[in-house]
C-alpha cells in the first residue's frame, strides 16, 4: 500500500500552533536538546511519519544523534549506522535532501543501512539538511513504515521544521560564545583592578611611583613565569613581595 500525504491532509491549525510553540521557546532560555526532541515529535504528528530524528555534525564532521522521536533500539541503531553510510550521511556531506525508497528491496548505495532499515520495518527514508548559509550542520531524518509518495509541499514543511532546528542550534552556539566573551570581559576588568591595587601596595610600601611599581610587578611576573594578574592578587593579599627579593635586581 502506498500512502500519499499532502499539505491538504495536514492539520494546518496544528502546524500553525507548532510554529508558534517553537518560536516561543526560541525567545526564552531554552534547552536546545529539549527543543529538538519537541521538533522530532511534531514531525511525527504533522507529517505522518513513523519516526524522526535529528543528527548533528561535530567539528570533525562525525554525525551524532541529537534527538529522536522514540528511543526504539533498532531506530537508534539506524542513526548510529549513518555515521558511515546512509541518507543522513550523504545529506550532511552533500548539503541537499536525499530520499530512499523500497529499502526492503535492498540498495546499492547503502547496503548495510538498507538491510538494517528493512529489518527494522522502515520502507522509506528522507533526510533534509540543517543548513546555515553555505554550511550544513546536520540533518533531519524521517522514516516511514510504508512506501510513501512524499510531495513537494510536505517536504517544504519538513524543511521549515529543519530550519527552525538550525536556528535553535545556532542561537545556542552563539549565545554560549557570547557568554564566554562576557566572562572574559569581566575577568579583564577584574585583572585591571587588582593590578592597579598591587601598584598602590608597592608604591606605598616602598615609596616608589606607580610607573616603577608597575615595572617591578611586570619584571617579577616575567621572571617567575606567572600571569601579571595572579601575581598582583598575591601582592594585594600579602602573599608575595616583589622587590624585596635580592634577585629582582630592582635599583630602588
Amino acid at each position: 500500500m502506498r500512502v500519499a500525504w499532502k499539505i491538504g491532509d495536514m492539520d494546518t491549525e496544528r502546524l500553525a500552533t507548532t510554529f508558534v510553540e517553537l518560536a516561543d521557546s526560541l525567545v526564552d532560555d531554552y534547552d536546545v536538546i529539549d527543543l529538538l526532541h519537541l521538533l522530532t515529535e511534531r514531525c511525527v504528528e504533522l507529517l505522518q511519519v513513523n519516526a524522526a530524528g535529528i543528527v548533528l555534525g561535530d567539528p570533525r564532521g562525525r554525525l551524532h544523534l541529537a534527538a529522536s522521536s522514540n528511543e526504539q533500539i533498532r531506530l537508534l541503531e539506524l542513526f548510529e549506522l549513518q555515521t558511515d553510510e546512509g541518507p543522513c550521511h550523504d545529506c550532511y556531506v552533500e548539503g541537499r535532501p536525499i530520499s530512499a525508497e523500497r529499502l526492503s528491496a535492498g540498495s546499492h548505495r547503502w547496503p548495510r543501512f538498507a538491510a538494517a532499515a528493512g529489518a527494522a520495518g522502515y520502507e522509506t527514508v528522507h533526510a533534509l539538511p540543517l543548513r546555515w548559509r553555505d554550511n550544513t550542520i546536520g540533518a533531519l531524518n524521517l522514516f516511514w513504515a510504508q512506501p510513501a509518495d512524499v510531495l513537494d509541499d510536505d517536504l517544504r514543511v519538513a524543511q521549515a521544521l529543519a530550519d527552525v532546528s538550525t536556528i535553535a542550534i545556532l542561537q545556542e552556539r552563539v549565545s554560549s560564545s557570547r557568554e564566554t566573551l562576557a566572562t572574559q570581559l569581566q575577568s579583564a576588568l577584574n585583572s585591571r583592578i587588582v593590578i592597579e591595587q598591587a601598584k598602590g601596595v608597592l608604591a606605598e610600601r616602598d615609596g616608589i611611583d606607580m610607573g616603577t611599581a608597575f615595572d617591578r610587578l611586570r619584571r617579577t611576573a616575567r621572571s617567575s613565569n606567572r600571569r601579571l594578574a595572579d601575581l598582583a592578587a598575591d601582592v594585594v593579599e600579602g602573599r608575595d613581595d616583589p622587590g624585596h627579593s635580592p634577585s629582582s635586581g630592582d635599583p630602588s
Binding site: 566573551l181 570581559l185 579583564a188 601596595v201
Partner: protein
Amino acid sequence: MLPTGWPEQLLTAGGTVTARVARLCELCVSSLDVSGASVQLIAAGPHRMTVHATDRTTDQLDDLQVELGEGPGVDVARSAAPSLEDDLNDSGAIRWPWFSPAAVRLGAGAAYGWPVQVGATSLGVLGFYRRRSGTLSNADRSDAVAVADAAAIVLLDAPEIGSPDALAWVIADESRCRAEVHQATGMLTIQLHVDALDAFARLCAAAYADGRSIAELSHDIVTRRIRLDA
C-alpha cells in the same frame, strides 16, 4: 517610548563600543520619561566601571551607590533582577535608608536599574534616574528591558568574538577603569593594615564624609597630598 527602528540604527551604526553605549544612553533620556541614564560594567565585589553616564548627577548617583552599598544598581548586581523605585522620598526611604535621602539631595525623585545580562552572566547595570518622582509607564519599562539587551550586544560586539582585541577598550581606558581609585585602595591596605575590600570601604566612607567623589579623594591619596592614617 523609543522611536521605531532604533535597534537597527544602533546596532548597524559604527563607532567604538563606548560611543555606541553613549548613544544608547542618550536615546533613553530623549525618548523615555527619565532624566539621566548610565551603563556600568559589574566587576568583582563592589567594583563598577562606568561605560557611559549622560550627566553629572547620574555619575554622582552611581558613585553614591558604591559608597553606601545601597540603591537600584547594587540590588541589580546582587539579584540580577530589575530594581525600580518610583519615589525616593517615600517608599525609597525605607528601602534604601542611606541612599534615598542622599539621592534626593542630588535632585533625584525616582531611580531604576535593569540587569545587562548575557546568558547567566550579569555583565552590567542599566541605570536611570528621574528628577520627578512617579510611576514609570509600562511602555518605558519594556523599552528599558530592550535597551538593556541592546547594551549587552553592543558591549560584546567585536569584529571577532573571543579575540583579545574585543576587550582592549576595557583594559586600555585609564579614566574609565578608575585606575587611581584602585591604586589608592592598594596604598590604603598598607597605610591602614587592612585588606583591599576594607581599604576600599574606608576610601568610600572618607569620600562620603568629606562630601567629595571617590575619584577626587583617590587622586589626592595617589599624589600623596592626603593620608588616611594621619
